[in-house]
Symmetry: C2
Subunit: 143 residues, 2 copies
DNA sequence: CAGCATCCGGGGTGATACTG
DNA sequence: CAGTATCACCCCGGATGCTG
C-alpha cells in the first residue's frame, strides 16, 4: 500500500511550503480535533442529532464544562450545528453540518484502523511487539 | 458509502460494550496519537527512515525532549522502529514498522480531508466569532 | 550526535456552584 | 435543561544543561 508514499509526498510539500505551523492544515486540524473529546463527540453525533443532555449521557466521563466547550469549538469550526429551541425548558440540539459529515469518512478510517489494530498495539505496548521487525528497547516507561 | 452511518453504528457498539474508556480503541488511540507531534512524526517517517537529527530538522519547532519522548511512545506502541548503530558518534535511525505503515492509510485520509477543507474551516472560524473574547452566548440561529 | 534529567510555565481539564 | 464562572490541579511541553 503506498498510502505511505503519498503521505511522505505530502509531508515533502509542507516542507517546501516553508513548514508554516499556522498554515499547515494538519497541524491546525489536530490542534482542534486532536483533543480528548472532539472526535468522540463527532462519532456520537454521527448517529444523528442529539441534545446536550443526551451527549452527556452517552459520554459519561465528560464534564458539562468540556462538553459545552468542545461543542462550541466544533461549532466555531463549522463541523457542528447548534440548534436552540427557545422553549421554557431550554432544548438545544446538536447535529453534524455537511462539513462535519464529510469528516465522517476519514474519521471512520481512523476508527476502523484503531479497532483493527488495537490488539497489536496493546501487545506491543505490553511487552515488545508482535509483528514489527526487531525491537531492542530497554524498559519502556508508559506515562 | 455513508461513512456517517457507519460511524454512528460503531459508536452504538461502543455504548453497548459498556463504553469502557480503557477498552475503547479510539479513546486509547487518540490518547497516544492525538498529541501534538505523533501524527506529524508519522508523516515525516512516511517519507522513509530518518535519523534523530534529521527529524529535528524537518520539524523545527519540536524540542529534542518531545522528539525523543514521542518517538519512544510510538516505538512502544509498535508503530515506529528504532535502529541504533553502535558507532562512535551514535547514529539512530527511526522508521515505520509494518503497523506504522498500515496507519499511513487512515492518516492520509485525515490529512487529505484537512487540506481539502481547511479553507472552509477557516472561513467558518472567521465568521463564527464577530469579536474575540466574547463570553456571551452567540445564540446563533440558522445562518 | 542522540537523548536524558530537571526546572518551570501555561493551559487543558475536572469539580463545584450559580444562572436563566 | 443547558449552560457559565470560578477555582485549582495536573501534565504537556519548552528551555537548558549533562552524559556517552
Amino acid at each position: 500500500m503506498d498510502a505511505r508514499i503519498a503521505l511522505g509526498l505530502k509531508f515533502s510539500e509542507w516542507l517546501a511550503m516553508g513548514h508554516d505551523p499556522g498554515g499547515c492544515p494538519v497541524r491546525n486540524l489536530l490542534d482542534r480535533l486532536g483533543d480528548r473529546w472532539s472526535m468522540l463527540l463527532l462519532c456520537a453525533l454521527a448517529q444523528g442529532p442529539k441534545r446536550f443532555s443526551v451527549l452527556a449521557r452517552v459520554i459519561p466521563d465528560i464534564s458539562k464544562r468540556m462538553l459545552s466547550q468542545t461543542l462550541r469549538s466544533l461549532e466555531t469550526d463549522g463541523l457542528v450545528l447548534r440548534d436552540v429551541q427557545p422553549t421554557v425548558p431550554p432544548s438545544v440540539t446538536y447535529s453534524l453540518t455537511p462539513l462535519g459529515e464529510s469528516f465522517a469518512s476519514p474519521l471512520l478510517g481512523l476508527v476502523t484502523w484503531a479497532e483493527a489494530n488495537f490488539d497489536v498495539v496493546r501487545a506491543a505496548r505490553a511487552q515488545g511487539r508482535s509483528d514489527p521487525g526487531d525491537l531492542s528497547q530497554p524498559s519502556s516507561q508508559v506515562s
